[in-house]
């Protein structure tokens, strides 16, 4: 049993990170912390994929001309590059939103925002274009 556990320790790390990230997203009221939790969650998935790709005794998947070399699977690495990019975009967008939320509500704490939404009526009304146009 211990061997099995030791053999899968990478997956255990993945699960710990995944749950940590998810917990932070759900349980923390601070918007920035939520983004961090999301990042942690996504990172755990990256590690998951990469560990999937690791072959026992496999080396880095860079061709070296030797036909007998055992490589680790390069595909997960590629997938993860894509996923990292997506993760970066998500985080960037999330942080940008948080900035705007901070400007609009004056806080990045979820409870305060909810209170602000409830107590005040609608947004700072803004009519960006003149109605006279078209």
């Amino acid at each position: 049993m211990i061997e099995q556990l030791a053999g899968s320790w990478n997956y255990i790390i993945v699960v710990i990170l995944m749950m940590t990230g998810l917990f932070i997203v759900i349980a923390r009221a601070n918007l920035v912390k939520k983004m961090i939790g999301l990042s942690i969650f996504q990172t755990s998935v990256f590690i998951f994929y990469i560990s999937l790709g690791k072959m026992a005794n496999g080396t880095a998947p860079i061709l070296d001309g030797n036909p007998d070399t055992l490589y680790s699977n390069p595909l997960p690495h590629v997938l993860i590059l894509t996923a990292i990019v997506v993760g970066v975009a998500t985080t960037a967008l999330g942080l940008a939103l948080i900035l705007r939320i901070n400007e609009a509500f004056g806080s990045v704490e979820e409870d305060e925002i909810i209170a602000a939404k409830a107590s005040q009526s609608l947004a700072r009304p803004q009519r960006p274009t003149s109605e006279a146009a078209e």
Binding site: L38, F41, I101, A104, A123
Partner: protein
């Protein structure tokens, strides 16, 4: 030469054209030009989708290899009867929504931001088309995120008129990202046991794969992730606020096409990828999806009844309608799946029209549309309000409207499986939906306008596309032959197995 080159690459064009036009739109300083680009992008996509539909009408399946890499190593776009129907619906409504967007956006979004708005608009549309066509599980994630992130931008741009749009966008971002990541985890597991990312290849390898826990876990995560995106109860909570506070043009676009793509992907997961392991699929469908769908139908309808803000009310209604589609798909019979596809098409028409009309009301009123502010608007804006009435009657499922056809075929499909309990629940919820529709209609038509209210101007730029959609509701309510036939083909294509 050029002609055939275009025709053979049509599937790719459907995605590439909007995506390419997006950055140009982003740098354009003139709102009108950016809108033209968006119109061109969605228009070309619509034409391409129609052409693809005519090719796949007889059960032909187009397999397009991106970069000429052979699947399963390369990424493959598949256009068969199921995806072409979805594409036609999505691109058609996308085009009509873009037509109406000109005026709606001009009012709600600052001119200097319009270029970026339309860029995000094109990204959403292009991403959704790719989502529907792709036959590679990971590529699906990429397109999913393209469209999701772009939608977040679009929703967030509603902050100009209502700052709650920012919070709604943020929540959609977080919940959507969690859902997408779940999906990726699922794909990881399935990749681990099959060694491939191509859906068709997965389908042929899964039955023999060293199954066990990995298979179930992978399936579960993939489905759970897409449930979030499709806004199935109980992970639908992002939708009411997101559609409610987004700019009117955005609500129109998203309500009409975004969740449909996710539902289509769910159908693909159930009936294409896991076609070889029907035991898991059947258990999931009958024990999980059907109850959740029914739950969504009721929760959506009841929340709509208690909602005073009109946009949020119809966003809740969308949750219910998504439940109907999911219910049809989850019945897993040809009749059920065609009923699901019929409603994918008809609901796009219904909700597209409703949100366009609400956009018209908001544009004229200058405030949010709520039960208090739209009193007597039936008489003050008769053109828009009558189109809204037609779409509302379609939502209720009155005969001679598209909505009736959907309900009819759904009821028939449920009866075929002898699930009288579900039938009763569906009928009750239909009756309940009349309640909130009645509330809105009553306020609009039967209450007097507030005293000393200014004259409201109806803009043809909004009501002309709106009337096209409303008339579409009636047309497809009278001549349902095309959509029923296409939906049946789609069901056959899906159940026939193989991507």
């Amino acid at each position: 030469m050029m002609g055939t080159a275009i025709l053979t690459n049509l599937p790719a064009l459907l995605v590439v054209v909007p995506l390419l036009l997006a950055p140009f739109s982003a740098v354009l300083p003139i709102a009108g030009l950016a809108w033209v680009l968006a119109l061109v992008g969605t228009g070309i996509s619509f034409l391409a989708a129609l052409m693809l539909q005519s090719v796949t009408e007889n059960g032909v399946r187009i397999s397009y290899h991106l970069g000429n890499w052979e699947p399963p190593w390369g990424i493959e776009f598949v256009v068969d009867s199921a995806s072409s129907l979805t594409l036609v619906v999505m691109s058609g409504l996308g085009f009509l929504a873009t037509l109406a967007a000109r005026r709606l956006v001009a009012i709600e979004i600052a001119d200097k931001d319009s270029g970026k708005f339309y860029a995000a608009w094109l990204l959403v549309v292009g991403g959704l088309f790719g989502l529907v066509m792709t036959a590679d599980a990971f590529n699906l994630f990429v397109f999913l995120e393209i469209s999701a992130l772009a939608s977040v931008i679009l929703i967030g741009m509603g902050a100009g008129t209502d700052r709650r749009a920012l919070v709604a966008g943020y929540h959609y971002l977080v919940i959507g990202a969690v859902g997408a990541t779940f999906y990726v985890i699922g794909v990881g597991f399935i990749y681990a046991i099959t060694g491939t990312l191509n859906m068709g290849d997965m389908a042929s390898r899964l039955p023999d794969a060293a199954g066990g826990a990995a298979l179930y876990v992978g399936f579960g995560f993939m489905v759970a992730g897409m449930l979030v995106k499709a806004a199935i109860f109980p992970v639908h909570i992002w939708l009411p606020a997101a559609y409610g506070y987004a700019p009117s043009a955005v609500s129109t676009l998203l309500a009409a096409i975004a969740t449909k793509a996710a539902l289509y992907v769910l159908a693909r997961i159930f009936f294409t990828i896991f076609a070889g392991t029907p035991e898991i699929v059947d258990i999931a469908l009958s024990n999980i999806i059907v109850p959740l769908a029914v739950g969504g139908i009721f929760v959506g309808t009841i929340m709509a009844i208690y909602e005073a803000d009109i946009k949020k009310m119809f966003a809740h209604s969308s949750v219910a309608q998504i439940g109907y589609i999911a219910l049809g798909l989850a019945l897993a019979t040809p009749a059920g799946i065609s009923a699901g596809f019929i409603h994918i098409g008809n609901h796009a028409l219904i909700k597209g029209g409703i949100f366009m009309a609400i956009g018209g009301f908001v544009a004229a009123l200058g405030t949010r549309a709520s039960l208090e502010t739209i009193t007597g608007i039936g008489r003050r804006m008769p053109i828009t309000a009558t189109a809204f009435l037609i779409c509302g009657l379609s939502l209720a499922g009155l005969p001679l409207t598209a909505g009736f056809i959907s309900k009819l075929y759904l009821v028939r499909a449920i009866l075929e499986t002898n699930s009288y309990v579900i039938l009763a629940l569906v009928l009750i919820s239909s009756a309940l939906s009349v309640v909130y529709l009645w509330k809105v209609m009553e306020v609009m038509w039967m209450q007097p306008a507030p005293a000393r209210s200014p004259k409201l101007v109806e803009n043809p730029a909004i009501y002309l596309p709106l009337w096209m959609v409303a008339l579409g509701n009636i047309w497809f309510g009278i001549d349902a032959g095309w959509i029923v036939g296409a939906a049946r083909l789609a069901a056959t294509a899906l159940l026939g197995g193989g991507a």
